[in-house]
Symmetry: C2
DNA sequence: TCTTAAAAGAGAATAAATCTTATTTAGGGT
DNA sequence: ACCCTAAATAAGATTTATTCTCTTTTAAGA
């Protein structure tokens, strides 16, 4: 919880109970939760937190690069507190999304694109969306 | 327009003016349009098409693998009529999304994952989301 | 041509996200 | 420690994208 505070301070953000709760929720839940799921989780200790506050805080975190959005095919956004470069595994028959870290792959891609490039495009970031099936229940 | 009809017939779908218009709109517009954009486009010739019909038709097309959704960080879905395997270039400062076809890359990735695999996961499809900036105005 | 299941139209309903305004609060300055 | 104020939150209305329900229309096979 102290390093959560530090994280906010580093970005020059005021430390509020709501921000701490939301960030803590995101950091302890690696399943890329929705805003709704975060609210449910923190309502236990913060019964009066407003929906708008949650969305506002999430936006603030994104702006300050504390969290990221995870794009899905559903009409609901999901959030990710892990900022180290990583890819995602999407289950093709459920909403499950897992992180996939692979430095060897990243190096391979980097080498490939440094050599080849993409015409008229300056690459900033490459992420894989790997669709498939998990062979083990989480 | 005839091969659009054929496409529907192949999937066992009834040929309706609405479906033809929507699929034609999608195939002539490579910018990964939203449902709203498709409606705007086809309203010129189909002024009475219902919003619900457009969404219903799009869903039907997705079910029958005639089109695909394109995931974005905005709260609006985008659609893609190109079904051949390809990746996407996302502009980090606008809504522009372009196709990126690279068979050499696909082969590289395939070789990599055949050799390495992902533990407890059966890969079905790999797509790159390349974020960056377009260096030439479209 | 007739029949009927499927599709479309109209508009209400929902769900996610955003906005507005009043109130509260964090934290720097005194 | 206390003030001050800009920033943050609460509450609830609003918007926007999407879905649903129900009625009417239509495609296409018999
Ligand atoms: Mn939405
Ligand atoms: Mn929505
Ligand atoms: Zn992640
Ligand atoms: Zn595409």
């Amino acid at each position: 919880m102290d390093n959560i505070k530090k994280k906010l301070q580093e970005k020059g953000l005021k430390i509020t109970p709501q921000r701490l709760a939301i960030l803590q929720a995101l950091m302890s839940n690696k399943s890329h939760p929705t805003a709704e799921m975060i609210m449910e989780y923190i309502r236990v200790n913060h019964p009066n937190i407003a929906t708008g506050t949650v969305y506002k805080v999430l936006d603030t975190f994104i702006e300050h690069q504390i969290i990221k959005k995870v794009q899905t095919e559903k009409d609901v956004m999901r959030y990710d507190a892990i900022m180290d470069h990583h890819h995602h595994l999407f289950c093709s028959e459920s909403e499950r999304i897992e992180d996939y870290v692979d430095i060897e792959l990243d190096e391979l891609l980097q080498a490939y694109f440094i050599k080849k490039g993409i015409p008229d495009f300056k690459i900033e970031d490459i992420r894989l969306h790997v669709n498939g099936k998990f062979l083990r229940i989480e």
